[in-house]
């Protein structure tokens, strides 16, 4: 009787999954692209320094607040405001995106100067910058907690979340489309930047062999600052997309999203740009499907179980060191 009941429940869930498959996939994809951009922040720094930037989660948090400041305080949107349309909407979205990228980029550079550079120049061991980054992460989060009274901060709706089309019963919504398309464009730009530009080549050179790169005349400090800036810009963009999709933030938001993105980076292979991409997208989809099939309470269990299994067979993540030419 119990087995019959279980199997009939299974059949019902499968039938529901079929009808909701595209909705879940589109939702999971847009969440995944936010993970991708944050994971790129982790991966860029790891690729060059071989160290985890634990403050990247707070760089993301600053990006979310910057987007709200632009929307709410510069363009004077309130919860009662009518959403913008046309060129005005495009202008506001671009300003908010640039505002988030700018603030996160600047803070990321400052972070490198304060938490990494001096320690590196004085020959500190690998653990010292790790701890100083964690310290900066706590300082950033507590600073924002104090000035916001630990409260959630809502973003007024700047854009009507209208449906562009219907695809296999699922609405293709404007906000999800923007997140996926713009996220993908940023990923391609970053990949091309690392492959084709002078700074990109220098980043790859430092990533492969720091000493040899120095001997070839690469300015190590400039490359590392540049890497932090690029990582900050990507993470800041994620902050903007997060606000566009979820419309609120809080001082601790970086911890939740940062942990997920870090997991994505590890899943794909940290230090590997392609790894961050596939890791982020996979994690977004995995979380969404697991929540639907097993119940939301099983999401974290499923994700980390998959991570452990993947690492068991591929200790360096799915892509690991295999794609050295695209490693940052």
């Amino acid at each position: 009787m119990f087995i019959l009941d279980l199997s009939s429940r299974g059949v019902k869930i499968l039938a529901n999954f079929q009808s909701q498959f595209m909705t879940l996939t589109l939702g999971g994809l847009s969440l995944g692209f936010i993970y991708v951009l944050i994971a790129l922040g982790y991966t860029m720094v790891y690729g060059v320094l071989r160290m985890i930037n634990f403050a990247n989660s707070e760089i993301f948090m600053f990006g979310t607040f910057a987007a709200i400041i632009v929307i709410r305080d510069i363009f004077n949107f309130t919860q009662q405001s009518e959403p913008a349309t046309g060129f005005r909407l495009v202008f506001i979205l671009i300003c908010a995106l640039l505002g988030s990228m700018f603030l996160s980029g600047i803070i990321s550079i400052l972070l490198e100067l304060v938490a990494y550079r001096r320690l590196r120049n004085r020959g500190a061991n690998k653990l010292a910058p790790l701890i100083s980054a964690i310290g900066m992460s706590i300082v950033f989060a507590e600073f924002v907690r104090i000035i916001t009274d630990s409260r959630y901060v809502g973003s007024p709706r700047v854009m009507e979340k209208s449906s562009l089309a219907t695809f296999f019963g699922a609405d293709i919504r404007l906000d999800n489309t923007i997140v996926v398309v713009a996220g993908f464009i940023l990923y391609i730009i970053l990949q091309q930047f690392v492959q084709r530009t002078r700074l990109g080549k220098a980043i790859r050179a430092v990533s492969m062999n720091e000493e040899a790169a120095k001997l070839m005349g690469v300015n190590l400090n400039a490359v590392i600052s540049g890497t932090f800036l690029i990582g900050g810009l990507m993470t800041g963009a994620a902050g903007f997309f997060y606000i566009l999709k979820y419309e609120n933030t809080v001082f601790s938001i970086g911890f939740e999203l940062g942990l997920a993105a870090f997991t994505a980076a590890i899943l794909g292979g940290i230090g590997n740009i392609k790894g961050a991409f596939y890791g982020g997208v996979t994690l977004g989809l995995l979380e969404t499907y697991a929540s639907f099939f097993l119940g939301t309470q099983w999401k974290a269990v499923t994700v980390f179980l998959v991570l452990v299994i993947v690492l068991y067979f591929r200790p360096n993540g799915v892509f690991g060191e295999a794609i050295t030419q695209t490693r940052a």
Partner: protein, 381 residues
């Protein structure tokens, strides 16, 4: 002569000022200083609830101090537990060991109450909560963990659970109800009591973390179940994200929540189009419903409108103040006085605690959000 007159005038003024200064401390010194505390979330996700309640305490104390000038002076110690059990366990020992404090209004939340209870019980600290509604605190079948120090003004979740279902489904033809909890004891408890109500039918449930931001999977389940009533039993910050994403997904049915959502905080986190028509329960009566004049006076006195649980907070504070007015100045005497208290709420209903610390017969009321404001819809019957 002119100089002599000037000196006399100056001397007279000095004498008058000196006398006034000398008299003033004498009258203050005669006033007996008594301290009570308020404990609730003054920072954190649920700070709005705590700030609203603290304003209620301040208002009641301000009126009392003005009425008893020269006789009593009541001071308030603010204890911030961020609405969490973890924080409460950190701050409660300090409050319990502060011998000046002879009573605590609060804690606001049940989890924080349970965490604080060992410290307050150990030191015999009388507590009156305006909003902690978890049944187990005063339920003999579940260990009566609040006895003997805990008391509360509102009705419990045993009343709220079924009432929330009733309110959410009111006027809905063929309701298909989907219930979501946030995995906290308050939230899951509310669902459990809801299920015990008569005629309750729930098509599906989901249990999500209170940090959830992406609700895609839950919404897909709601859509699959063809639910036309969604009840969320967590707190307002998550409720705002869930309700917004549901409306974005073209869900047009009823949205409802318990008193965890009934906080001014939600009104700043989502737009009118999302929140319009949201149905909420609360064992509270808005001060403006009690008396428009009282609300006006509150606003004039505190500089802000009254918030959620202002009425119950004023009631809880008034119980302590009534005892202080009888000359009570120690914790053991305060506890005896609270237990023997027989009086009236500012709503006119009687307040008398039973042996477990509850006031029987408290109503469970309904609210609806209209144009980003809570509209009181009366007792749920």
């Amino acid at each position: 002569m002119k100089n002599q007159r000037s000196i006399s005038v100056v001397a007279a003024i000095a004498l008058a000022v000196g006398t006034a200064v000398a008299i003033a401390p004498a009258s203050n010194a005669a006033a007996r200083v008594v301290t009570i505390a308020y404990q609730g979330p003054l920072t954190g996700d649920d700070a709005q609830t705590g700030v609203d309640e603290l304003n209620g305490v301040k208002y009641a104390v301000k009126l009392f101090n003005a009425k008893n000038k020269g006789k009593y002076e009541v001071k308030i110690v603010e204890v911030d537990d961020q609405g969490s059990g973890t924080e409460s366990a950190k701050v409660a020992p300090g409050t319990a060991s502060n011998k000046k404090i002879i009573g605590v209004v609060g804690p606001a939340y049940s989890g924080a109450t349970i965490a604080a209870l060992p410290f307050y019980k150990q030191t015999g600290m009388p507590m009156i909560s305006p909003s902690a509604t978890r049944v187990s605190i005063t339920d003999p079948a579940q260990g009566l963990i609040g006895f003997p120090v805990f008391h509360r003004i509102p009705a419990t979740d045993a009343v709220q659970g079924p009432a929330l279902y009733k309110l959410a489904t009111k006027g809905v033809t063929s309701p298909v109800v989907y219930v979501i909890d946030d995995q906290s004891p308050y939230s899951t408890g509310l669902v459990d009591y809801m299920k015990k109500g008569s005629g309750v039918s729930i098509v599906g449930t989901d249990s999500v973390s209170d940090k959830t931001t992406d609700w895609t999977a839950t919404i897909s389940k709601i859509t699959s179940a063809k639910a036309n009533v969604v009840i969320y039993t967590g707190y307002y910050a998550q409720a705002a994200t869930l309700f917004r994403q549901l409306r974005d997904a073209k869900y047009t049915g009823v949205l409802a929540g318990g008193d965890g959502v009934l906080s001014n905080g939600i009104l700043t986190l989502a737009s009118t189009s999302v929140l319009e028509g949201v149905r909420l329960t609360g064992a509270t009566v808005p001060l403006s419903e009690v008396s428009a004049a009282l609300e006006t006076d509150f606003k004039k006195s505190m500089g802000v409108s009254s918030g959620t649980y202002a009425t119950e907070t004023i009631d809880a504070t008034n119980v302590f103040l009534s005892c202080i007015g009888k000359g009570i100045s120690t914790r053991p005497n305060m506890l005896k006085c609270v237990k023997a208290f027989k009086g009236k709420s500012i709503t006119g209903l009687p307040i008398q605690f039973d042996k477990n610390g509850d006031v029987s017969g408290g109503p469970m009321n309904g609210f609806e959000i209209k144009s980003l404001q809570f509209k009181f819809t009366g007792a749920i019957k």
